[in-house]
């Protein structure tokens, strides 16, 4: 299991008595700890703005479960985000958090275990709905798990519920705690995938493509349902051959039958993110493509380029296995249609499609 460098633990006043706040420092006995106020955000001189080597332990006052903030202009999958923390110890050049967060450090919310009953009650009050819940939106679902023990309490909790699945999305290969767990029901283990070239050039401190796929294989062998996300797809000379290699690795190690879904998303960004990225990664080539302003104000590849990427990748994946539950993340109906020959047309209809996948593969 990969451990990341943590140089200091900052415990925000108000979090001291939470169970996780007591446990995490015990797992890092030699790291200096400091009690801080929530507004005390000044970084010591020389510490980089994202401050990915400080762990800040926080008693979170906001909502833990929230719908993914899609926009009306593109079709959204209707995912629910379980907000376990924000920021991540890996360092992808394209990470949207660089302009999204206005507070530094790896921030983990320690009162989540205490809030679970409330979340459970909410989910149970909609028995006809299927909640597709993920923790990998604002952080990596597994990277800090060795400190936070997220899987120890989230997996049993969600595994017991009838109308939800928990998707743990990661770029690590840290699956030891999953493999030790005795729960499998309603847990999806998902990997963000990219070409090996992009992994090594743009996704710093993440597991290599092969390690991710091998970890996926281990999880699958242990009985977990898998998902994959080719997101963000980047267009560069040779992108298709590189992705072909990634698909070949999947073919070699993964049984496609227990894949619940595979999503595609092309690189998109709010204008401000470009400058946050350029500041931190001046040599990155991710902005080389032809980006235009999309209907939601984000910059996206010019439509024919996106369509080319989606259609080629899906054709290639379908040669492997027809029924992979491929879907697009935040795309318009015409892009769906031109890429795949069909479109769910609306967000609720995409939700129904994915719910159907859940029923088919997971909920008996």
């Amino acid at each position: 299991m990969k451990q990341f460098t943590i140089r200091r633990i900052l415990i925000e006043r108000g979090a001291e008595s939470d169970s996780l706040a007591k446990m995490i420092p015990k797992r890092l006995p030699d790291i200096p700890k400091e009690l801080v106020d929530s507004h005390d955000l000044a970084l010591p001189e020389g510490i980089e703005e994202m401050d990915k080597e400080s762990l800040r332990i926080i008693h979170y006052k906001g909502e833990f479960l929230k719908p993914c903030p899609g926009t009306k202009r593109y079709i959204c999958c209707g995912y629910q985000i379980l907000n376990v923390g924000i920021n991540c110890p890996m360092d992808c050049s394209y990470c949207f958090l660089q302009s999204y967060i206005n507070q530094p450090s790896l921030r983990v919310y320690t009162n989540l275990p205490e809030k679970l009953d409330e979340i459970g009650e909410y989910i149970d009050s909609f028995p006809e709905r299927i909640f597709r819940i993920g923790t990998g939106e604002f952080t990596d679902s597994l990277a800090l798990n060795y400190l936070t023990g997220w899987t120890d309490y989230l997996i049993p909790f969600f595994s017991r519920r009838k109308n939800c699945i928990l998707e743990l999305k990661t770029k690590t290969s840290s699956v030891e705690s999953l493999l030790k767990s005795r729960y499998r029901e309603r847990i999806v283990v998902a990997w963000s995938l990219n070409s090996a070239r992009i992994v090594s050039s743009e996704e710093r401190k993440t597991a290599s493509l092969k390690k991710r796929i091998l970890a996926a294989r281990d999880c699958q062998k242990a009985g977990f349902v898998l998902a994959f996300h080719f997101d963000p797809l980047l267009y560069y000379p040779g992108w298709d051959e590189d992705l072909e290699e990634a698909v070949k690795l999947l073919e070699k190690y993964i049984d496609p039958e227990s894949i619940i879904w595979i999503s595609f998303g092309s690189f998109r960004y709010m204008p401000a993110l470009k400058w946050a990225i350029k500041r931190r990664f001046p040599k990155t080539k991710i902005f080389d493509g032809e980006f235009v302003t999309g209907l939601d104000g984000k910059l996206r590849y010019f439509k024919p380029i996106r369509i080319e990427m989606y259609s080629k990748l899906s054709e290639r994946l379908k040669k492997w296995y027809e029924d992979l539950g491929i879907y697009l993340c935040m795309e318009s109906s015409d892009v769906w249609k031109q890429s795949f020959g069909w479109s769910p047309k609306t967000s609720p209809s995409l939700s129904r499609y994915l719910d159907h996948r859940v029923r088919k593969l997971m909920v008996g």
């Binding site: 000044a42 001189e45 235009v292 010019f302 024919p304 015409d334």
Partner: protein, 330 residues
């Protein structure tokens, strides 16, 4: 609270005894000495410069405040003048602040001069203090990125600094230039200042140039040496605004080849249609959405009816939304 007056004393000083290099307190850049010389010539120096005695150099005094005045009197041929000499124990940080306040009350500083101040402050105070205390005073947005930008300005080449000081080159663009080599920076500065690009045009164009270089695996210099760009620049029949417009077009075509091709195809398709007079059809911006627009200009209801009538019978109209995909769709 009663403030302690400066313990300075006036002294007639030989100009040749004063170190007139701009360090360590000077914050003047790209100024015109002539008006000051004219004023001094007429009325003398109303406000004597402040100096510190040097202990370790050939010259006897360092300028704290009044750098321009001293340059002016030297150019006027004065051999000496009355200056205020600060006590030897006067702390250098205080000397810097004295000059800063002297400048702030007298004039508007240009961006390079502000950068000089910021740079000099780093010798005495932490970055955080510069951000919170001094950047607002200098009218610079108080954040780390801006601090980094201003700290980098002093390292830029003289012609670029002059362009910034006279507001011919955008500060944002200068910030991007910092990641480039000297030769590339100077070339871009030359392009932007000779043709008088607006700051927005500069901002767009520098990104295109850098991104073209990155995606084509070329140097900035090579991108700027583009045959078309060079020809436009040397075309004596073209006015500067025309040159600018054409260069933007060339760069845009290289930066967004597929988009530009789609736009051209769409235009070609539309122009081949016998559209009635006063009818204009526009695609969605960047072809991202799916809604096209038609604009009909008319003066009488009958004209509108005629145009709608003609439009409804126009062959090829149903293919309009595919025009941009290439000739095979037209």
């Amino acid at each position: 609270m009663k403030r302690k007056p400066l313990q300075d004393s006036p002294l007639q000083v030989d100009i040749s005894d004063i170190d007139l290099s701009p360090d360590p307190f000077c914050m003047s850049f790209n100024f015109d000495l002539e008006p000051l010389k004219a004023s001094i010539d007429r009325f003398g120096v109303l406000n004597p410069p402040y100096l510190l005695r040097n202990s370790d150099t050939d010259t006897h005094f360092t300028v704290v405040a009044g750098y321009r005045r001293l340059l002016a009197v030297r150019e006027l041929g004065w051999s000496d003048m009355v200056c205020q000499i600060l006590p030897d124990s006067f702390p250098p940080f205080k000397a810097l602040l004295l000059n800063l306040h002297d400048n702030l009350v007298q004039r508007k500083m240009n961006e390079i001069e502000k950068a000089m101040v910021v740079q000099r402050l780093t010798r005495f105070v932490k970055h955080e203090q510069i951000i919170t205390q001094f950047m607002p005073m200098l009218d610079i947005p108080a954040n780390r990125q801006k601090l980094r930008l201003f700290l980098g300005l002093e390292d830029l080449e003289e012609p670029i600094k002059v362009s910034i000081a006279v507001e011919r080159l955008s500060l944002r663009v200068a910030g991007l230039m910092m990641s480039l080599g000297t030769e590339d920076r100077l070339k871009i500065n030359e392009l932007f200042t000779t043709l008088k690009w607006s700051f927005n045009q500069q901002w767009e164009a520098i990104q295109w140039i850098m991104e073209i270089a990155s995606r084509e695996g070329r140097s900035i210099k090579e991108v700027m040496k583009d045959r078309e760009v060079t020809e436009i620049l040397h075309d004596s029949r073209m006015s500067n605004p025309q040159k600018l417009k054409d260069i933007v077009k060339v760069l845009k075509r290289r930066r967004f080849p597929s988009l530009m091709k789609a736009e051209t195809e769409f235009r070609k398709g539309i122009s081949a249609l016998p559209l009635p007079k006063g009818v204009k059809i526009s695609p969605p911006p960047f072809f991202e959405g799916i809604d096209y627009r038609v604009e009909i200009v008319f003066t009488k209801g009958k004209d509108l009816r005629d145009r709608l009538e003609k439009l409804s019978h126009l062959p090829g109209l149903d293919k309009i939304t595919d025009f941009w995909k290439g000739p095979e769709y037209r």
